[in-house]
Symmetry: C2
Subunit: 152 residues, 2 copies
DNA sequence: CTCAACTGGTAACAGATGAAACTAGGTACG
DNA sequence: CGTACCTAGTTTCATCTGTTACCAGTTGAG
């Protein structure tokens, strides 16, 4: 057998498949959130995380949501403007503030969360729990190995 | 048990996990291609598809790569400018042209492809063929079910 | 103390992206 | 064959995203 060029079928290339699938899913979710609640993804993520642990700094929120601090800042400003999130001064550190949900934010969260789970079910339904667990495990390890390559 | 609010842990929310993992992978790949070959993802995708089937229209390339026609147009222009791709007039339809790799484009492809596969192996290595096949299968079905929800 | 280095958050800028308008060419039907 | 509609590709524009610069506040070494 002679040298032989490497051939690569794009449709078989996993990073490509992953990207396409993820973009489709993100876009479907983004459309739904926007239409239902006027929230962008970043805003929704903040709400979800703040609901779990009130009184976080933006710093902490960025780490929890894997979002850039600029993205977090913008989303936080938007949420405060809409009266969904409140900022309290942080006694420990005057540069930062602690974010928590207002009553309205809490209400919104309580109507968004079920919808989110429903959407997830709609998209990821039709898979067995085992399949999903395996999928999740692959995602976890991928995240780690990709981050190792690109220590952004 | 009383009504009980729905709780949602962001880290357990699959669309979120998928998005984070995919972004990490895409970013690692984009960085590598840019550094090694000065190619952006869209350009690399076009090269890969043209290499498989010379003489395609941009229309066809868009379908094959799931990219917007604007994205395809820009990537095509960049590749032509760099002398990697050539446009031949399409006798059947004067509005479009047929794209093929120049000798330089072919050379580049032949050095990019192995690198791409190596990167893929680096990121997706450590999984068994079975795991990868299952993962791929989930991606396929996801793509379909998300597209159905968001008929963009 | 105080000065240098550092960190949380915002603002300003720049590149990327996609929708919509536009141009040139194609198709259908009288 | 002419006119109304359709499509390939490009350009324009408005938006989004992230990098960099910036300001205010914090920390630590001397």
């Amino acid at each position: 057998m002679t040298a032989g060029k490497t051939t690569l079928r794009l449709d078989d290339f996993l990073p490509y498949r992953l990207s396409v699938a993820s973009n489709r899913v993100s876009s479907a979710i983004a459309t739904a959130y926007q239409a239902l609640f006027g929230l962008r993804i970043a805003e929704w993520r903040l709400i979800a995380v703040i609901a779990e642990g009130q009184g976080m700094t933006q710093q902490a929120l960025g780490a929890a949501t894997r979002m850039d601090k600029v993205t977090v800042s913008r989303a936080a400003i938007a949420l405060v403007d809409r009266g969904l999130v409140a900022r309290q001064p942080n006694a420990q550190d005057q540069r930062s503030h602690l974010l928590s949900l207002t009553a309205a934010g809490q209400d919104l969260y309580e109507s968004v969360a079920p919808k989110a789970l429903e959407l997830e079910a709609r998209i990821f339904g039709g898979f067995s729990p085992k399949e999903l667990a395996a999928f999740r495990a692959v995602l976890d390890r991928l995240e780690a190995s990709a981050a190792a390559l690109d220590p952004e």
